[in-house]
Amino acid sequence: MANQAAKGGFRPGRIVPPLLLVLSFFLVSLSTGSLKGLPKRIGMTVSGGFQKGFAAIGQAVSGSVSYIGGLKDLNEQYTELARKVERYANLEREYANLRAENDRMREQLGYSKGGTSRLIPARIVAKDPGNMNSGFVIDQGSADGVRKNMPVVAFQNGIEGIVGKVAETGEGSAIVLPLYDSRLFVSARLARTRYEGLASGQGGLQKPLILKYVSKLAAAEVQFGDMVVTSGLDSIYPPDISIGRVREVVLPEFQSSADILLDPALDLGKLEFLFILDASSDAAVSTTAAAATQAPGSTKEVAE
């Protein structure tokens, strides 16, 4: 038998690669079908720990280096911060007054008081290792209350925008599918004209988002720079969170609807911190600047 193999007869090693390819197909079927997510969750829980460890070491090293470099500026920053704290204390008093006034006016207008949205702050600890998928790993997982399909938002330059949704969760980490991934779809509407459509990515950070299923008639009213927000019609994303601004309107000849290209509202390549929105509280999103600056690792109740 061994001699036969040596002479070019049947060699078990030859069938191993095709068998493995078939097994890979089976795994893809499994993970995109009924048992979707089970193997992934188990693996993520294990590998997420390693990933967080690596990220923590990297952050510790770079943090130490920058700490030593920044020691000189510490005193100046302290003085500056003390001044800011004083200013914020004044702002807080002003905010409390405005809030009370707002509540009174809401009451007069007969609005019911909204619920609360729970924001779970998270830090991006890793990205896709092989440039093949666009997801990124965050340091909060199912143990912190993160669940699959929870919407993810972030704040940049005072704008609250959609980042994506939670694709998979491990015990202490989760994978976020970003807005520019072609597998993500968000029910959207044009903020000014209120026409609805379906926004999705085109697979790359450099490529614009695309808003589909807006009729050509409606597209005629669209202007460059118009803001597109979540419509709240799907069960995942709350309404009125920024998605992007209109860059270009494309009118395909043999299609009844227009394709509207969008620039994302957030610079998704610069994200470091983000917030997972706990939709279980069933509230529209209303966040404050305080929520945006909260340190990761804790949760915060934000009043509507």
């Binding site: 390819l21 097994l23 993970s31 597998r183």
Partner: protein, 169 residues
């Protein structure tokens, strides 16, 4: 055989962790080199037709746990590249520069081709493939090609763990 597969898997897993964390800070246009792929290609070339693809399959599973793709995606693209590399075993002689360069470049393209096959079979809503028209693909292919000679040289010093005794002779 098992020792070689395990050692390759550990090395590839470490490479994947590096790629997803530290190397992201030096990414060129958001693209990082795929060191795990290079490890797999080298081991597949150096061994017979079984060890490399098995290690590639296992490294692919680890890849999927670190990324947003479905489980099976990583095993498929890495096993495909490993299989082709293992076919070169004994037919083309390894040199210091040219073959590593070609293997790094072509291996990346095979990875992209594999993702395309899966996208066609399972649909774009399940599997995301990268297009050859994507400039990032060529950046990655270039990075992998440039790094392959260096990495292969370094891997040569670990031959006793990565290559089976039968093939070291």
């Amino acid at each position: 055989m098992i020792g070689s597969i395990l050692a390759t898997w550990v090395l590839a897993f470490l490479a994947l962790l590096l790629q997803s964390t530290w190397l992201q800070t030096v990414a060129i246009a958001g693209v990082v080199p795929d060191l795990a792929l290079l490890v797999i290609l080298w081991v597949s070339y150096g061994n017979s037709r079984a060890e490399g693809p098995i290690a590639a399959f296992l490294a692919g599973v680890a890849f999927d746990f670190l990324s947003s793709g479905p489980v099976g995606f990583g095993p498929f693209i890495y096993t495909l590249a490993a299989w082709v590399a293992s076919l070169l075993h004994g037919s083309i002689r390894m040199d210091r520069i040219a073959l590593p360069l070609v293997m790094g470049f072509v291996g990346t393209l095979l990875k992209v081709l594999g993702s395309g096959i899966l996208e066609v079979l399972f649909g774009p809503d399940k599997v995301t493939a990268r297009s050859f028209a994507d400039f990032g693909v060529w950046i990655e292919a270039g990075l992998n090609a440039l790094l392959a000679p260096l990495l292969f040289l370094a891997l040569g010093s670990m031959k006793r763990w990565l290559i089976t005794e039968e093939h070291r002779r």
